[in-house]
Each structure stands twice: as C-alpha cells, then as structure tokens.
Amino acid sequence: MSPHKNEKVHPYIPNSAPETKVKMLEEIGVKSIDELYADIPESLRFKRELNLPEPLSSEYALKRHIEKILSKNQTCKENTSFLGGGCWQHYVPAICDEINQRSEFLTAYAGEPYEDHGRFQALFEYQSLMAELLDMDVVNVPTYDWCQAASTSIRMAVRITGCNRVLISDTVSPERVSAIKNYCEPIVTVQIVNHNPKTGLMDLEDLESKMSSGTACIYFENPSYLGFIESQGQSISDIAHENGALSVVGVDPTSLGVIIPPSNYGADITCGDIQGLGMHMNYGGGLAGFIATRDEKEFVMEFPSRLFGITKTAVEGEYGFGDVAYERTSFAGREEGKEFVGTAAALWGITAGVYLALMGPEGMQELGKTIMQKSQYAMKKLSEIEGVKAPFFDSPHFKEFTVDFNGTGMTIKDINKFLLDDRIFGGKDLSTEFPELENCALYCVTEMHTKEDMDHLVQAVKTCITQRGQHS
C-alpha cells in the first residue's frame, strides 16, 4: 500500500476517502462521479484544470501564508486613528466577541423557531433594546448597513405616501447619497436641500420651497456626516408633515445616551448603523443597518426585512418567536413582496444586543458624555494652533467634526502624510466631497482616545506646520 494513498483526502471533505466513494457510487449505481454530471453538455464543460495556486495543505502553512500577507497592514491599534466618516473606532467589550464567535451563533442560519429558538430570541431582544434607545416600537432584523437602511427607509416612505419625490439634506454622506440614488433610480426622484453655510444646519427656506404635495419624505442625519447636530429636527419634521410628507432621520446610536432620539422631534422612520455598538471596524466589514418605526400597520407592512415577534406556545408560560407579517416579504411574494430580503448582517445585530445589555442606561449616557467631552477637548486644542480652526461650522458637534487647515497654507494630503510618519491617521480629506470644505478634514474622537492621544495629534500638527514654515 502506498504511503501517499490518501494524499487527496482533504480534512474538510470526509467522503473523499476512496473506500467511501466506492461504496456510495455503488449505492447510486454509477461507475464514476462524472456520470452524475450527465446533464451538463460537453460543450459547456471546463476543459482544463483551474489555474489556482498550489494548495497549502497543512493548517500551519496556510496560517503562515496569510499572516505574512496580513502583516503588511498597519492597524488603528498600532497607530492613533482619527478616522470616522461612516465607520468608527469604539471599544468592543470582550463579551461581544465572546458571543459572536460562538459556533452556535456563528454557524446557524435559517433554522426554525424551534431548534433556533436562541437566534430568534437574541434578535428579538436586539430589536427591543434598540427600540428603547430609539424610543420607537418597531425595529428590524439588521440590513446590510446605513446605506441600505436609508435607501429602504426612503422607499418605505414612497410606498406609504404614494409620492415618488424625495428630499435629501446636502450634508448627508456622499457615499450614502450615491447608494440612495442608485436604489431610487428610476422609480424615485431625489432632490437635494441646501444647508446654512455658517452653521451647517438645514436651510429651512430652501426646504419649504422644495417641499410639495408630491414629496414623500425629507431625509437628514443627526449628527450629520460632518459631525454637527441638527437642532431644527422638530421644525423640519413639522414642515414635512404640513405637506403630507414623512420625516426620515438617520442617527448615530452612540449619541442617544445624551441626545434625544429622532422620534422625539417628529421622525416617522429612523435609520442608521450599529457598527459602533460592539462591532470591530473590520475594514468596513462591521457595518449593519437598522430601521425603526412606530407600531402602525401602514408602517410595519412596508418593511422588507424580517421582523421577529414574540408569541406563546402550546405550553403555558413558554415564550415562542416567529416572523411577523411574513407575507409582505419577497421570500413569500417574490417581486410582489416589499423590495427584497436575504442574508444581511444578523450576527452584528445579536452583538449589538449584547453591547446594549452590557451598557445599560448609565453606560450609554456615560458613553455619550465622554465622547462629547473628548471631542470638544480635541477641537479646542486644535483651534489653539495658528491657522487651524475646529469646527468649521458654528454648531455643537458629536464625535466627528470638521477641521479647517486653510490658514496653514498646507493641503490635507500633505498634513496627513506628515501625521502618518508620526503614526497618526489624520482625518478624512473633505476637499473633493464638499467644495466649500477645501483643505478641511473630518476628524473623529471617541471614548477610545486619551488626552495623550489628542495632545500627540496637536503636537504633531504644530510640528508639521512649523517645519513647513521653515522650509518655505
């Protein structure tokens, strides 16, 4: 017997063992596996072998190979990062990782509410915990991310009102606007509402002039993509409602311990991203979107997502769970269903539930307060540097803020290059996204940043400007 007899038996493929194969082929009544492909015409058969790298058959070799590639990455842990703009560095409690790497949750999928009772309960609880944070009665099983949550919220508003024109604030993330426009095209027309150049807040006159009886909704974000807080939420919602339109608001859930939720200033639909609630950034892979509404039939029936509800079972006192109004989904109705539903980001929903259960009311308050304090400290200290102004807009901010470097005579690109050499990831360059913000950057400060981190940034910016002065 050859020592390499089982060379082709792969540990992930039990029935590649030759004896088993023979037994199974006999049972089926064919001589070779190839016979099983009889339905695939010869003309469509792939004639050569796949040209892929030689396999790394030992687990050790595989690890070595991948770790070597990954070692080329420089992380936000090894450096000090001030990047935000749609993905944020927050502290991830150890228990969040402990739970979402459990085989039971990690490898479950679409089981029934019997054998997957835990999945249903964990996601029902996620919906319920978010509902408290948002002060709304209905929250969905997560969708892909904020782009999708905003897009779907807008399409829901279109169906609820029967109107196909929507208004969007021009301070929404350009990436999100791009996704929304693609998702709306060609059914829904998107029109942009301007902001006040001094405060960043929505220009209410512009809003009123663009609002009409054909408007389905106004969509804005709070805090905005540029970090300032939109304090006219109630006025915006009122203008929408007076015109028969809905108020749809995107919100950063990490702000809701200290800032009122959109439902408290008239929002009919609230959406956003839960990445900040216990998910690592994962190069953008930690995103997951939420949508929330009041518990009214006309809203609930327009959700495309799964909505898990609590119910009873045949045994007195036992909780059961199931899909609420399943018939509205594309699983039930294909193109007659509401938009579409599929695999999105459920594991991150379970994790956000763990996060909120750990944080509790006080934790969320402390988180919000700490972020407010630290970001204000960073703005104050940066503004003390000659030629630097933070924030650009004259409004209170949360977590993120614009830093205007115009007075330094340097570009953001040059500044960030200098900072990178000092192991600092400077803020996102806004020059191309917002013409008025040329040489401005979007900085993000969370509970993760220490005074030392921020002082380091300030010192590095000072040095950068001084050196530039010496060279010019």
Binding site: Y114, F124, R176
Partner: protein, 514 residues
C-alpha cells in the same frame, strides 16, 4: 442506523433580557475622562441646545457582566448551527464547514482593527487579499473583474439589475423594461429586479425540470433588458440549454446575469463565461465557506466581463505590479451599493478556503457534494411518501427539491409537521422557498462537508418520522417535544392588534407589569 431517539436540545427557559434587570447593576464601565479635559470643557453636554438633551435615559436593562454573558451563552445553546447538526436540510444555502483556522485569522487585530479610510500604504495586506481572491474568482467563473462590495446575494442581484439598467440607459435602450427569470431561481432574482423598476417575467419548467427554449422565445422581445437565472436551479437540475438562452437574450439586446449564490456543485466543472453570461455572483458565505452568522454579515462577490467593468460599484481593487490601490475611476459606475468595500473578514475566509484546497481540491469539493447529493436522492426516493418531482431517472447536481405530497395525502402530515418532528432528533429540515410549485416541498443539499455516516443518520431520521406519520400521525403533528420550545402559536404574528415586535410593545399590548 437509528436517529438519536434520546436527543434533547438545551432548554434554559431563559427570560427575556429585560426581565433580568436589577436597578443599579452595571455590565461594563466606560471610565471617566481625564481631569484636565473636564476642567477645560466641563460636562460636555451643556453645549447642546436644551431641546436636544435627552433627559430620560433609554430604558435599557441594568445587568451585571456575568449575567449578561450567561444569558447569551444560554441563548446560543438554543441554536443548531452547522457546527452542531448534520446541516443538510437547509437546501439552496450550502451549509458547509467553515474552517476554524480561517475564523481565527479573521479575528486578528490585523483584520478587525483596520479602518476603511486608512491610507492605502497601510492596508496593502488587505488589498492584496481582495485582489488575489478576485483573480481566483475570475478563473473560477471566466469573468474579467470582481467586486466584493454587495453585502449578500440579494444585494449582488440588485447590483446586477442596476448595471443592466445603467448599460441600457447608456446605450439608448431605456425602453428595455423587462427582466426574465425562472420560478426555481431565488426569489430575489425577481424581487431585486422589481426594485430597479423592471417588470418581471417568470418562466416555469417542463416535466424534465427545466425551462424550454420555446418558453423563453415567447417571453423575450426588444423590451427584454436582461435574464437573471440560477443554474442548476433550486431543484438541482442543470438546464442544458443555458447557452442557447444567453444567446437568445443577447440577440434581443439583453444582458445575462448568472445567480451563482450557490455554485458548489460545479466548481471547475462548468463556468459562467462558457455559458455566455455577462455578469455573475458568488456568495462567499455559501460556496466559499464563510460562516452564515445567523444571516450575515456576508458577501455577494460580483463579477463582470470587461465590457461592463466601467459600470461596477466603486471602488475596485487595482494592482500595478508593486502596489495595490482602490480605483474610483469607473466612468459609468452605478455608484455604491454598500458602504466601503465589503465584509473583509468574509473575503479573507474565502481566500483562505481556496488556498487550502487549490484547483484540484475545489473540484473535489464539487464532486463529493454531487456524490453526496445523488446518494441522498437514492435513499430519499426509497422512503414511503417522499418523491423527487421532475427529471425522473436522471441525476441531480448539488441539491434536490423533494415533495411530501404523497405523505400528506396519505397521512395528513405536512412538510411543516415533518420539519417540527425532525427537530426532536437534533435535525433541521427546511420546507422551501415560496411559492410551493412543488407541493409540500423540502430541499436537501448535503455539500461536501458531511460524512456518509452522518448522512445515513439524517436519512434514518426522515425514515423514523415517516414511519410515525403512517402509524401515529398525531405524534408528528404535535411535535416538537424535545426541541427548545413547543408548538408555536402563529396566530398573533399576522394580527396588528396582537403582534409584538419589541418587548416594549409586548408589555403595552399584553399589559405585563414591568
């Protein structure tokens, strides 16, 4: 072989998380800001306009750390992931093994502590993995360029429909307003096309289980924007006429998008390019082994031929021989379909899976998935009351849509009843996507991951339930008994007065004292 007749799933009778709250308990602390910061900026909150300050904290539960941990660990034990059961009863979903070594690698700080807006020079490793996986999928499909941006299969279908629309608009074909699909393609092939404003035409199979050329010819016209189709379809039947289909659609100026969410039976056997497709996508959480995570996070990796590269969502990953970069210069791009570049941990796991198997290993995975499936087909057809509609006497690719129609007619036991009773033996069995063209359907897809012995155990479970159905149908109809919970009352879930989608809503509607 017998099923596990003494099985009982974990049942903790665990309360809802809000019921665990004790005033004053804390699960985690944030830590105070430094004194100097507080001295400089004060409480941080008073800069807010009075009307924006939240006066009442959110009514979240107050629970100590270990109790939170215990709660979620108990809930986790009340799930049957692929790591626990013989997870072959969830057809169309490719519940294969997700190797632990790959999961471990994805949890490295070098992966999870990356911000998507970092300077490209600091993420060369991440970009290299994305680029290389792109080249692998190009080889596997014959497409020219891939993006990983779509967050799942349905998102990839939406992206395909968006590209088809943008392509037609750019070529002055805005009147093309119909998408053709088949009833055994995924529901989202129809639904996501409708989101993009398309009228959907759905074709039905003949008795051999595939749509005939005549049916397509009747449906196709100069209004045809494109074809979105799965092959093999949910029945596991491969439509041998597929190259004719794509030719006919092309002849009418349409594009052809291949839903390869599940391509597990045909890796290295047949490709998208040779069948004439312009676009295709693979679910990395199905065929390429990334775990399903209770339903995501996930990736629908979307590939196109070079004629369509300019329409892809931005950015795509480029490589100049020295450096990897993100390329936003796609003049006709449909824009974004998801934030940033996709779920990187899933991309990494798919890359690692392919690297562990190589080309030959991928083909072996497909071969064994097909071997397993046809073995099960043989065994299920021997079970009284079960049948495999369509394509009598022929082999199937990676899955089969079966029917309990005869069982239901003879015993009154339905597919739903069988799924409930299977849970009592530690198995999951899924009915199937709607509409139920196959009456009382169930779909089994074994993948390559389960041993013959495990498969035999599953078959023994099915046999046992059927035996009960013929001897004591009430036993099956009142199941489950040994699962986590008992027969669920679904009546409240469709009634707006009674449904409760959150705990606060339940407390209000059912007047529970908090």
């Amino acid at each position: 072989m017998n099923p596990r007749i003494h099985f009982h799933q974990a049942k903790w009778d665990e309360p809802i998380v809000f019921e665990l709250s004790t005033k004053g308990e804390r699960g985690i602390l944030i830590g105070k800001v430094e004194k100097e910061i507080e001295e400089l900026v004060g409480d941080g909150i008073s800069v807010l306009p009075e009307n924006m300050i939240r006066k009442n904290p959110p009514a979240l539960p107050e629970i100590s750390q270990m109790r939170v941990l215990k709660h979620y660990l108990r809930l986790s034990q009340q799930c049957l992931g692929a790591d626990f059961n013989v997870d072959i009863g969830q057809g169309t979903c490719t519940m294969k093994y997700s190797p632990k070594v790959n999961e471990g690698l994805s949890r490295s700080g070098k992966v999870c502590e990356l911000h998507p807006l970092q300077d490209e020079s600091t993420v060369q490793g991440a970009l290299e993995i994305m680029y290389r996986l792109g080249t692998f999928l190009e080889e596997i499909s014959g497409m020219d360029t891939f993006t990983f941006q779509p967050g799942g299969g349905s998102s990839a279908i939406l992206a395909m429909a968006s590209i088809i629309r943008a392509f037609n608009d750019c070529n002055g074909n805005s009147k093309k307003d119909e998408i053709i699909t088949t009833i055994f393609s995924h529901p989202s092939d129809a639904a996501a096309a409708a989101v993009k404003g398309y009228k959907v035409i759905t074709l039905y199979p003949n008795e051999d289980g595939f749509v005939e050329v005549e049916a397509l010819e009747k449906a196709v016209s100069n209004r045809t924007a494109g074809l979105l189709i799965t092959n093999p379809e949910d029945t596991g039947i491969f439509n041998p006429l597929i190259a004719e289909f794509t030719k006919i659609v092309h002849d009418h100026g349409g594009l052809c998008g291949y839903d390869q969410a599940n391509a597990n039976g045909i890796l290295g056997i047949t490709r998208s390019r040779e069948a004439g497709f312009d676009l295709c996508f693979f679910n990395l959480h199905k065929t390429f082994s990334a775990p399903h995570g209770c339903g995501g996070p996930a990736v629908g990796a979307l590939g196109v031929k070079k004629e369509l590269v300019h329409y892809l969502p931005v950015p795509i990953v480029g490589y100049d021989g020295e450096k990897y970069s993100l390329n936003y210069e796609l003049p006709k791009t449909v824009g974004k379909v998801r934030g940033f570049y996709g779920v990187f941990p899933a991309i990494l796991k798919a890359y690692a899976w392919i690297m562990s198997l190589g080309g030959e290993g991928l083909k072996e995975a497909a071969n064994v998935a097909v071997l397993n499936n046809n073995y099960i087909l043989k065994k299920v057809k021997e079970i009284r009351g079960a049948s495999a509609p369509y394509a009598e006497g022929r082999h199937r690719i990676e899955q089969v849509r079966y029917s309990w129609d005869e069982l239901t007619r003879e015993t009154g036991v339905t597919t739903e009843d069988v799924t409930c009773r299977m849970a009592d033996f530690g198995f999951h069995l899924w009915s199937s996507h709607h509409p139920w063209v196959v009456p009382q359907p169930f779909t089994i897809e074994p993948t390559e991951s389960y041993s013959k012995e495990e498969i035999d155990e599953y078959i023994a479970g099915l046999k046992r339930v059927v035996e009960e159905a013929y001897t004591n149908p009430e036993k099956v109809k009142n199941a489950p008994y040994n699962s986590v919970v008992h027969k669920i009352d679904h009546s409240t879930l469709d009634d707006p007065e009674k449904w409760a989608i959150t705990w606060r809503s339940y407390v209000k509607k059912y007047k529970i004292s908090p």
